[in-house]
Symmetry: C2
Subunit: 192 residues, 2 copies
DNA sequence: GTAAAAACTTGATATAGATCAAGAGTTTGA
DNA sequence: TCAAACTCTTGATCTATATCAAGTTTTTAC
């Protein structure tokens, strides 16, 4: 399980043997069964979390009890609530497992220590953050400019493979539409 | 004009005199008249840009010719297209001045050099990126969960002062609604 | 293996917000 | 300083998507 993270590190950063071992020394393994929570609304998030296997979703629940999916994260991605982590305030989000999931956690103190100690690690982390920001910008742009159908086509184009492992209800929520609308769109586009 | 940026730096990072001077040595001043472009779609963005005075908007134009405002940036904020900068690809965005505007530019090579040379500067830049990412997440969340009226109230609450200096048409576009809808919302909420 | 729960589909109807249109204010620049 | 060009408002109508409802299929858990 740790090998998956090690492989990711080797691809993304040039690390010495000693640095790799230093990183591994702080890694905490965690397993989640399907539907199990990684974070619940109101808790303060304290980790940097990397997924080695499986899939989680980050979502909020509004006053009416409806869920709004903010993001999906699968193996080789990071997850967590950066706002709660950075400001040390109770999270507005829930994160739970869509499939049985395996993660590597670092407490944020340890993670920051690694960033300070290992420049290559720090650079990697910054590059990831840049890409996350760009992805968020693109999502905003899509939500402003695309129709429901275009949003769906854009999604399956950008994240092929997701559609088959994530329930449609959740994808609909992520795209900002109802499950019924997504169902109808899928029927239409299948025809073409 | 540079003093505004210097003050910003002093607040956000602990810099030695020498470091401050090093940063200043790379700064390029730029003025934009209202409606003048900082970046046009198709160009590759090559700077890190800080606004010392004024206001710019970042937007796309779709096939029908409609503009979609992605963001506003005012004095003491940064602007630019991070995707174009990072991937060195033609930008999908336009950036132009809503008011006469003054900026400090750094070519990205110089900016990266400063990040490498000055750890405190690098940390500041990362902190800004983190905050930008959190803001983007919050905007996505708002677009998924709020009604048109709630989006507007959320906007004026979060950015008081913006409403008075930015034309309503542009605010409507930023919020993902038509100017007519925003006009009606303003009329309604004024009553209450 | 099977009953209960969850996920998906389909149809009928409702609605928030878009579009179209036209008039009133406001800003801009020669 | 005044005409042209924006910007905002208001009304009438339209439409994409939501909501409600009921049936079917798939998954889950004992």
């Amino acid at each position: 399980m740790y090998e998956i993270f090690q492989k990711y590190l080797d691809e993304k950063a040039e690390l010495t043997q000693a640095e790799s071992e230093r990183i591994q020394s702080f890694a905490i393994s965690k397993k989640l069964r399907k539907r199990q929570y990684l974070l619940q609304e109101g808790d303060i998030w304290k980790y940097d979390a990397f997924i080695t296997q499986g899939c989680v979703r980050t979502y909020t629940v509004d006053e009416k009890g409806s869920e709004h999916v903010n993001s999906f994260s699968i193996e080789n991605w990071w997850t967590g609530d950066r706002e709660s982590l950075m400001l040390q305030q109770p999270s507005r989000f829930n994160i739970d497992a869509i499939e049985d999931t395996e993660l590597i956690l670092f407490t944020h103190e340890n993670f920051e220590l690694l960033c300070r100690e290992i420049p290559a690690f720090n650079n990697m982390v910054n590059a990831i953050l840049q890409r996350s920001f760009i992805a968020a910008q693109n999502r905003i742009q899509a939500s402003l400019t695309l129709t429901a159908e275009e949003k769906y086509l854009n999604f399956i184009n950008k994240y092929p493979g997701f559609a088959s492992r994530i329930p449609q209800t959740m994808i609909a929520s992520y795209l900002g539409m109802t499950p019924e609308t997504l169902s109808r769109i899928r029927k239409q586009t299948a025809k073409k």
